[in-house]
Structure formats: C-alpha cells, structure tokens
C-alpha cells in the first residue's frame, strides 16, 4: 500500500514537474527573442553577431536620423490616433446599444460589429482596395485609417460593453432621481466610470493603427508609407543593427502601452 502511494506520488510530481517545465519554457520562448534583439541594438559592430560587444546608442541615433523611418513613424502615429478617435466616437455609443438595447437587437448588433474583426485582415484589406478602386478612391492614409477603424472597432465595443454590463444600473437611476437628465447622467456618472475601459480599448486600437500590416498593406498610401510597410521592406533588405534599434523603439512603445493598461484596468482586466 505504501509503495503504491509512493509510486503515485512520484508520478504525480513528475507529471506536474513536466508541465511546469513546459510552462517555463513557453514563457522563456515569449521573452528571449526580444531580449536578444534589444541586446544587439546596443552592439558596436555593424553586423549582427552574438554575443554582442560593447555598448553604443549609435543605432538608435541612426533610426531617428533616418528621414524615411521618422516619416513612417509619424504617419503611423497619425493613423493610430485617427483610428483610436474613430473607435471612441463610433464604439462607445455602439457599446451603449450593445449593453442596453433590447435583447434581440443587441445580439444581432454585436455579431454585426464583431464580424469585420473576425474576417482575416487581408480579406478586408483586399475587399476595401477593390471597392475603393471601383468608386475611384485609391489607397491613402485615409483609406488605411478608415479600414483599420472598421477592423478594430470590435475591440473598443467589446471592452466598453463588458464594463457597461458590470456597472450597477442603479447608478444612472440614482442620478435621474437626483435630478439629472439622461445626458447629464451619462456625462457625469456613466462616462467617468467608463473611462478606464475606453483607455484600455484605446491602447489596443492605437497599437493596431500603428502596427497593423494585413489591412495596411492593401490600403496604405504610396506617398505616406506607414511604419509596418517600411519596416517590412527594411527587414527584408538589411540586417544592420539599426533594425534591432528600431525594434527596440517599438518594444519600448509596447512597454508604455502595457503600463497604460495596468494603470487603467489592471493587467488582469485586459481579458474582459
């Protein structure tokens, strides 16, 4: 009996050990490539080699002295901002309808809003490119921004809807009972309480506007080429550590985005 228990215990520990080992491996797999890139971005040599030698900020200087890259970053930044503003303007009212509309209407509505996000990005990109061409609208920064907004609207709607659904409906009733009109109640009570969710949604919509490739590649303007397009071209052409520095900049932006998230809804709130 005891030996059998010991054997079971041993198997159990082994199994759990293997599972935890895989988990640690996965986590390492997630972080190590970025660590390597950041290390290489400080390498003094002009070619990629490991382990890196020395320390220099030269490659970062090169990134910010590269007129094409700086222009592309500026373009992508603008797209990110436009996408975010559009998603707030269209997404927050839509979330209100999704959370409070009559049951049948709101189910259909959420499917309708989520669908463009479920369609593969390149399919949406190609479809918009074709349609634009039919009516004489060529690829441009605006076409890119509008298509991306439609693509990621679902993210904003979902984040804000789930926050709305967890808000006590008595809060708005209390505001009304205290004399607020529906608009006043929305502005003074509901909107402030939605801000964390709107902020979290904005982080994701901005990142999508800034980084998206699948939709962008078919819709971007040829004169103001956004960062992912330039980045794709550069990565294919050169392996200079400058690309690593460019990656370092992007990783820094991701960290900033994550700090914003953890301050707004908390990292474990991202999933809602």
């Amino acid at each position: 009996m005891t030996t059998q228990w010991r054997y079971r215990e041993f198997l159990d520990r082994l199994g759990i050990g293997v599972i935890i080992a895989i988990a640690v491996f996965s986590l390492a797999l997630l972080v190590l490539p970025s660590v390597v890139v950041v290390m290489i971005s400080f390498d003094t040599r002009a070619f990629i080699s490991f382990p890196p030698q020395g320390f220099t900020l030269r490659w970062y200087q090169e990134v910010f002295n590269h007129p094409v890259l700086v222009g592309a970053m500026w373009t992508s930044f603008k797209v990110g901002v436009v996408v975010t503003l559009a998603c707030i303007a269209f997404g927050v009212p839509t979330a209100l309808a999704c959370a409070r509309g009559e049951l049948r209407g709101r189910t259909a509505l959420s499917i309708y809003v989520i669908a463009p996000h479920m369609v593969p990005g390149i399919v949406l990109g190609v479809a918009v490119l074709f349609t634009g061409a039919l009516v004489g609208i060529g690829p441009s920064i605006w076409l890119q921004a509008v298509t991306l907004s439609v693509f990621v609207l679902a993210v904003m709607v979902r984040t804000v809807t789930s926050r709305l659904q967890r808000l006590d409906p008595a809060l708005e009733q209390a505001a009304a009972n205290l004399g607020a009109t529906p608009f006043q109640a929305f502005r003074t009570i509901t909107l402030p309480l939605l801000m964390p969710a709107i902020l979290a949604g904005s982080v994701f919509t901005f990142v999508e506007g800034f980084d998206n490739l699948s939709v962008t590649i078919f819709t971007h303007g040829f004169r103001d080429r956004p960062l992912p397009i330039e980045l794709l071209a550069i990565v294919q052409q050169t392996s200079s550590p400058m690309v690593a520095a460019l990656s370092g900049v992007q990783i820094l932006l991701a960290i900033l985005a994550m700090i914003t998230l953890s301050l707004s809804v908390g990292l474990d709130g991202v999933n809602d």
């Binding site: 759990i16 988990a23 640690v24 997630l30 490991f50 369609v119 390149i122 918009v128 349609t131 529906p182």
Partner: protein
C-alpha cells in the same frame, strides 16, 4: 447646468431609450467599409466583367475564376501547406500554452503578474519586430549559428532560416500569447475550492488537472485555438520573412496576385477561398471543442 439645445431632449431620448440606435452611425460605416466591400469581393471573384477604361460594360455570374483556381495545382499545394501550418501551429500553441495557464492558476501574485506581462507585451508589439528577432536568432550569422560555431560543434553555418521549420517556430512563438490569454481568462474565474475538494477526495494533482481543471478550461482552449488558427492561417509576415522569397502561403498568394500581378479576379477568388476555408476551420474547431468538452467531462481515468 441646464441642458442646452445641443444636448436637449433629442440626445436625452437617445440615451434613455432601449433601442439600438446609438449604434446607427457605426452600422452605416460598417456597411460602407465592410459589408459592401465584401459583396464587391464576391462579385469580382464570381463574375465576368467586360470593362473599358474603368467603366463596366457588362457583368455576369461566372465560376470561371473559381474553376481556374481549383484546376491549378499551385492552389492546392499552397492551401494544403497553409492549412497544415495553421493546424500544426494551433496544436503546438495549445501544448505550450496550457501549461502556462496551469502555472498561472497555481502561481502566487508575482507569478501571475509575470505571466500577464510576458503574455500581453508581445500582443502589443509589432509582428514584424517579433519576426525580425527570429531572423537574428536563426539567421546564417545569427545567435544559434555563431554559438554553435564558437563551441566548435559545426564549421559552417547551418541553414535554418528560409526553411519550413523556421516558419513553424516563428508561427508558434508569435501566436502563443493569443492562445494563453483566453486560457488565463478561464483560470481567473476558476474556483480553486474545487481543486481543494478534489484533493480532499483523494485526487492527485494530475488527477485534479485532468478531471477538474482541464474540463473547465476546454472552452478556453477552443477560443484560443480559433483565434490562433485564424491568425496563423491568414498571416503573411512570418512566411514572408522566415520562409524566404518563394515560401508561398495563402495570404502571400493573395498579396502577389493583387499587388504584383494585378490579377484582381484571381485575387478575389483566392481571398474568398481563404475566408471560406477559414470559416470551415473555425466550425471544425467549435465542433471539436464541443466534443472535447463532453469527452473531458464524461471521462473517467
């Protein structure tokens, strides 16, 4: 603070109603930028258009482009490759992702925080940047080759990049966070008293994992699998950068047909096939998730 004309009774009625019409602007925009384009895509793929100088002269329903695509062996190899790659990626992500979710479940505050950071940070980082990291690691003069040469294990750099394996490694690493996130959502809601009850009833930790945690996490696995499948099936960053110039998957094929060859009808058909197969894949995953949920819940050891 009296209501002004701008937000007078109209906006008040809008906000207090239970109709869906605050969503009307979004509905219209989505119709113009998603619904109509999708119909245009279908019509381009399934019609014969005679046009002169951009003016459509005649257009009629036709399966010509679809037939041409289906009789082209390149289509078959490309789609077979894409689907195979997506399925393998999905399975590997499940295998690597579930243990992370388990660690999240049993871990303390800091373990959980670290897992969240390591999972969310990549999602906020550009896919190109993350793929570039693999060029640095797997390249001819990359981390692996230089290390192996320095150790004297090889004389010449081994070719890793521009192979199917490089694509697979990149695919799995890029999509792993997308698998972990929905699993963590399940684990956050998981009631650990169930695990305690299970242990108290004599189950080992593996037994609890198998009979309590896994059945409850299966829907999360399904959600993650659906997301990873869609994204890995339709991505072209990783194949483009890690597969070399001639590694063609369905997404790169659409891109080449539309942007380089300017064969729009062909591109439209490919895009429609891509979407249709993706949908079939998603339905398959949903069915499998259902089955797996029933199987894990009914199962005895």
């Amino acid at each position: 603070m009296t209501p002004t004309a701008l937000h007078g009774p109209f906006i008040d009625r809008l906000l207090s109603g239970r109709g869906i019409w605050p969503a009307v602007p979004a509905i219209i925009v989505l119709a113009i930028v998603a619904v109509i384009p999708f119909m245009v895509l279908l019509s381009l793929g399934f019609s014969d258009v005679v046009s002169s100088r951009g003016v459509i002269i005649s257009q009629e329903f036709s399966l010509r482009h679809l037939k041409a695509a289906l009789s082209d062996s390149l289509y078959w190899t490309t789609f077979r490759r894409s689907i195979g790659l997506a399925v393998t990626t999905t399975l590997l992500c499940m295998l690597l992702g579930f243990p992370v979710a388990y660690l999240y479940l049993i871990g303390g505050k800091w373990t959980r925080r670290i897992i969240l950071v390591l999972t969310i940070a990549p999602i906020l980082t550009s896919g190109i940047v993350r793929t570039y990291a693999w060029i640095v690691i797997l390249g001819g003069r990359g981390v692996i080759n230089t290390t192996l040469m320095q150790l004297g294990l090889i004389d010449q750099p081994v070719r890793i990049i521009n192979t199917h394996w490089a694509v697979l490694i990149g695919m799995v690493q890029i999509h792993l966070p997308i698998m972990i996130l929905p699993l963590i959502a399940v684990m956050t809601r998981h009631d650990t008293r169930l695990d305690e009850a299970s242990a108290n009833l004599g189950a080992t930790r593996l037994g609890t994992l198998r009979h309590v945690i896994l059945p409850l996490a299966t829907p999360g696995l399904g959600t993650g699998a659906a997301l990873v499948f869609t994204l890995s099936y339709t991505t072209f960053v990783v194949p483009q950068l890690l597969g070399g110039g001639n590694y063609l998957n369905a997404a790169t094929m659409v891109f080449e047909q539309v942007v380089y060859a300017l064969e729009w009808n062909k591109g439209a058909v490919t895009a429609v096939i891509l979407m249709a197969t993706c949908l079939i894949g998603l339905i398959g995953i949903a069915a499998l998730t259902n089955l797996a949920t029933r199987w894990t819940r009914a199962g005895r050891s």
